[in-house]
């Protein structure tokens, strides 16, 4: 399991949280005129550095910055999540080495990759003189696991510069909001303080949806005052609140957007910059629906370019889709798969484990 660094809190702080469990989560209604933090728009893009600082100072984050400069950090282990029965086997019967290419194509590995892996396996099988079904399965498992393993698949939650900020991006309906709900609950279970930011100000009821998840994850949420508000402002405010409340982490939801929409993609850059005025972005997670085929590559290319994606979440692996495209996402685009989604419930996610994934794919039914 990965080690993560979070803020050290007194026991009393922890003891207080169960009391709140039955109550509605702390919801920050960012309403103008309320005594809650006022809805100040993010410093505009054209503002100079000093102007930016003025805004930050105004909202009183200067002092917070001092506090977060040297927080007492504690190394934590977060609750384990497993793929469970998520991945279904590639093979309904015996493993047929000649049919492997087709089998891999069916799993969305893509023609080229399928050809390549099949050829490699055939070569390896010949070299080792492997012929039996169990041996071939093991060979394929090892080959896949080895090629999928990398050392950057853990979430970047260990550099100690709090609050960590995670930006969640992806095409429409990929599973961004759901993933955020799951992540928040998991972090909360590990006694992290999480702030959610509803920067999907576009889709109908997107904010309400995230709010439902915030309640389920017992975490506060920063919401826009109205539909269509500037998502960059919401992102900015979310980070601001995380800093002010000394939260460990802020997770920002964004509206789904198709990768060929230039304006919408540019908006992600704007959101990024708004966040970076106050904090470092630890992760930009691109959520990809495993049922998507080769288009996932186009998605990843585009999002990586404008949003500087640091990792991929592959959702809906609980269905019949195998998500083979993750192989090319890692190999060709050098984007690590970090998490997988395996259902609609709050605990239905796991860290991506090449070994588990490969095992699932070659398992005997």
């Amino acid at each position: 399991m990965f080690k993560f660094l979070k803020r050290l809190r007194g026991k009393d702080v922890d003891a207080s949280s169960p009391v709140e469990e039955n109550q509605p989560a702390a919801v920050i209604e960012v309403l103008p005129g309320s005594d809650l933090p006022s809805y100040a728009p993010a410093p505009s893009e054209t503002e100079t550095e000093s102007g930016t600082e003025a805004t930050v100072a105004q909202s009183g984050t200067r002092t917070d910055e001092k506090e977060i400069a040297k927080p007492d950090l504690v190394s934590v282990e977060l609750p384990k999540r497993s793929l469970g029965t998520g991945i279904r086997s590639l093979f309904s019967g015996a493993m047929d080495i000649d049919g492997l290419e087709d089998i891999l194509i069916l799993a969305d590995f893509g023609v080229e990759t399928a050809e390549e892996i099949a050829a490699e396996l055939r070569g390896e099988a010949n070299r080792q003189g492997v012929t039996t079904d169990p041996e071939l399965r093991l060979l394929l498992k090892d080959l896949l696991a080895k090629r999928l393993s990398r050392n950057d698949s853990a979430l970047n939650l260990d550099d100690g510069t709090l609050p960590y900020v995670i930006l969640v991006v992806g095409v429409n309906g990929a599973g961004k909001t759901t993933t955020i709900g799951k992540l928040a609950r998991w972090l909360k279970d590990g006694e992290w303080e999480v702030v959610l930011g509803a920067a999907d100000t576009y889709r109908a009821a997107a904010v309400d949806q995230l709010e439902t998840w915030a309640k389920r994850a017992d975490s506060p949420i920063v919401k826009p005052v109205k539909e269509g508000a500037d998502p960059a402002s919401v992102a900015y405010q979310t980070v601001e609140m995380a800093i002010r409340t000394q939260a460990d982490i802020a997770i920002i939801d964004t509206a789904g957007r198709l990768q060929n929409k230039k304006d919408l993609m540019d908006e992600l850059g704007k959101i990024r910059r708004a966040v970076e005025k106050q904090a470092k972005i630890s992760e930009v997670l691109l959520v990809i629906d495993a049922t998507n085929g080769q288009n996932a590559m186009s998605q990843a290319r585009a999002f990586a370019e404008v949003a500087e994606v640091t990792g991929i979440v592959m959702t809906k692996l609980d269905g019949t889709a195998k998500g083979g495209i993750l192989y090319s996402l890692q190999k060709e685009l050098n984007l690590p798969i970090k998490l997988v989604g395996v259902g609609e419930q709050i605990n239905d996610f796991a860290f991506f484990s090449p070994e588990e994934f490969a095992k699932g794919l070659v398992a005997k039914k």
Partner: protein, 500 residues
Amino acid sequence: MFGNLSDRLSDTFKNLRGKGRLSASDIDATLRDIRRALLEADVALEVVKSFIAAIRERALGDEVSKALNPAQQVVQIVNDELTKILGRENKRIQFAKSPPTVIMLAGLQGSGKTTLAGKLAKWLKEQNQTPILVAADLQRPNAVTQLQILGEKVGVPVFAPESGNGVGDPITVAKDAIAHAKKAQFSVVIVDTAGRLGIDEEMMQQAIGIRDAVSPDEILFVVDSMLGQDAVNVAKAFKDGVGVTGVVLTKLDGDSRGGAALSVANITGAPILFSSTGEDLDSFEPFYPERMASRILDMGDVVSLIEQAQKTFDEEESKKLADKIANDEFTLQDFLEQMQQLRKMGNMKSLLGMLPGAGKMKQQLEDFDESEIARTEAIIFSMTPLERNGPKVLNGSRRMRIAKGSGTSVTEVNQLVNRFEQAAKVMKTMSKGGMPNIPGTNPVTMGGAVGGGYIGGKKSTTKKKGSKSGNPAKRAAENQGLGFSQPQESKPGSAFGLRN
């Protein structure tokens, strides 16, 4: 990795250049490229396999081997078969005889059902229907809220007795919705349902329950156009589970090639009714099969490729032909081949329809009389090689035999021979007059059939200032004081007086 089909085919076409006919291995090479392109466009493997098999069969058949440039026709067959699966025309929604018409939406999570419900409601309202939306997705957090907001936006009431988020029974809601709609006299009921996986039996059972409660006139399977190979499993599961009467493709405003359309249409056998093309509620249109076919195969590019191939082909053929004519070697066999080329162009009609500005030419091809060619073909086929190469040997008894063999009359045989001699003479004069060796100037094919250009019609670089006609062959003929048998230069087949 994502090189498009036209890039690949251009290589294959290069190898095929100038070939009179395709060998089985030529066809296989082309089909390998097409297979790969389809897979990269996310058409499901089993659909690709049956598709390629169908094309191979047609391509190996007579249809192609008789054509002059079959490589191009392979592509046309592909397009034909694509349209066959995707549907030829856009289909419409089935309205109930006695209202309300009930439309149930079903599909995977995140496929775009709720947004589509809003769009459908708006569209129906604009058609003077009185729709009502039913919030039967009680699963996804705030799906009910989302539908309510959409309903408000488009001014359509939403039946939402349960707040959702895991609370309430969607089957009861659906049942009550129908009762309510009947009482309140809504003309269309749109039932939004929760996203579900094909393999989630419990959820599929629930969908069946909703279906049985509302007896829908349409069960619309809402499919994300980015769907990959899993499309087959999903389509089968929904077809065998809740059932599918129509398909809607969503997120078509993206850059996916949309192979899922082919997979789903093939597996469900249901027509694709609509395309959803954006997040705002107006981005909704009927499904256009041809557009989809060209999107999946990059057909727009492929067509220009055919054009390219055609150009090269024409150049070489023209030269060969010119030589033959000059040396008095133009035979009935050549005549037949030219004729067949004309017919092949007639077959290009469907492809041409997709090209901007090809309308006029398409019309000319429409006018083209195929039966005339068939008759000519039959006559020439009934000739011996000797007769084909030298019509001079055609005496009365030979002509009689040919007429009998081709099921025509001696008069028709005579007419053909006369036309041929006429044409050969015209062309010889033309060639002596220095027929410009310009692409697209094949004297036979351009004898009016394609109005002096060739497919695509945009290569009319042959037009020179001050010439009497933009059609170089015609111009050449004019310069020789020879008129074509038809005054209208666009009359198909007029060079040989095929019709008159």
